[in-house]
């Protein structure tokens, strides 16, 4: 299956498959949004403002997961010198960056009616902003350096350094006193979010993930084509 991501194979990825994923995404989002905005209950404390959670949490999840992928891809690239993973990372980065931005904006919109402020410099929020900066640095590196190898090396280092921020983001609410509340969904304990809210949250998360995959596949195809074209030009 991994062979399908090799530059030679990905170009043959049919547009029909991407169209299928797109239709699937629309379907899942329709169910998710109807469930999130209308069918799910209001929270006993927050009322209807809890519904921002259905966008905020999936965005945060993808922002973190995507950067973890950048980190892993960079390690594979630096140590094992697997070249095409850097093209995959380059394709994935803008997706994670946008979702990090959406996470911060929706979080701010959620914070004002609940906490009473648009922003605080607590560990969780600050580290998320740092993540966004790392994303921007990563993307700009690829844009700024026209030499592929140089851009590759520097962006890989940025991704690995930024990956140290990931456990800080995730555990900031456990390690230190923060305004942001601790995680409701963990691997070790039962979720502290009622199932009538958890189900639409998971539906929205799946929708966001498949959407990200679509964008990634489209971008990755283009990056491979650009790369091959540049190679031809040089020879």
């Amino acid at each position: 299956m991994i062979k399908n991501f090799f530059p030679n194979k990905i170009l043959s990825l049919s547009n029909k498959f991407i169209t299928f994923l797109a239709v699937l995404t629309v379907f899942i989002f329709f169910i998710g949004v109807v469930y999130a905005l209308f069918l799910s209950p209001a929270d006993y404390i927050q009322g209807d403002s809890v519904r921002i959670m259905y966008v905020h949490v999936p965005s945060s999840f993808i922002a973190l997961g995507c950067f973890a992928c950048l980190g892993i891809a960079s390690i594979l690239n630096l140590i094992f010198k697997i070249k095409f993973v850097s093209l995959m990372a380059k394709s994935a980065a803008p997706i994670g960056a946008i979702f990090a931005f959406i996470s911060i904006i929706t979080g701010s919109l959620w914070g004002k009616p609940t906490w009473g402020v648009w922003w605080v410099w607590d560990a969780r929020l600050t580290s998320m902003l740092v993540l966004l900066f790392f994303y921007i640095a990563y993307i700009l590196t690829w844009k700024f350096f026209s030499n592929f190898e140089k851009a590759n090396k520097i962006s890989s280092i940025i991704a690995i350094l930024g990956s140290f921020n990931l456990p800080i983001i995730k555990y900031s609410v456990d390690w230190w006193n923060t305004l942001h509340q601790p995680s409701s969904i963990t691997l070790t304990a039962a979720p502290t979010i009622h199932y009538t809210m958890l189900i639409p949250l998971l539906i929205m998360l799946i929708g966001f993930i498949i959407y990200s995959i679509i964008i990634f596949l489209m971008k990755y195809k283009i990056e491979v084509m650009k790369f091959k074209l540049n190679k031809k030009k040089k020879n």
């Binding site: 209950p41 006993y44 609940t114 906490w115 350094l161 230190w176 006193n177 305004l179 601790p182």
Partner: protein, 141 residues
């Protein structure tokens, strides 16, 4: 399976990662004071003297039956179930501020027991449930 070159690179970068990881760990350990967004009443009880003049934040639960409103000013007690501190505040209170729920007050210490706040933030916990479920839980307790 892995060539010598790859192994060498692997160990080099692993060592680099461990080094960077420990540097960042030590940076955060020494920054602990600033990374913490608020102190608990117990922290205040233990520290106090160094904090008298600075603007700090205290967080905890609003103690039940401790809220007193007089016009635009409000007095209440923040507790972490071990220690408490009296807070007085004038101004707008966030919607989610209520007894038994989390709160963060920003301001200055008058003394070990008394805090004058210029900002109040409501802090909510990680529990999400519909009102009916909450009522059912309270009835069964």
């Amino acid at each position: 399976m892995l060539s010598k070159k790859v192994k060498l690179r692997f160990f080099f970068y692993t060592a680099l990662l461990v080094l960077i990881g420990s540097i960042i760990f030590f940076i955060f350990k020494s920054l602990e004071e600033n990374v913490v967004y608020f102190y608990s009443p117990t922290d205040i009880y233990k520290k106090s003297s160094a904090l008298d003049l600075k603007i700090i934040r205290i967080g905890g639960l609003v103690k039940e039956n401790s809220v007193n409103k007089e016009g635009s000013s409000i007095n209440f007690i923040i507790t972490d179930l071990k220690n408490e501190i009296i807070v007085s505040y004038q101004g707008i209170i966030p919607n989610l501020f209520s007894e038994g729920k989390g709160v963060i007050a920003e301001g200055k210490l008058k003394d070990k027991k008394y805090f004058i706040a210029n900002k109040i933030l409501a802090k909510h916990d990680e529990n999400y449930m519909p009102p009916e479920v909450k009522e059912a839980l309270e009835k069964s307790n």
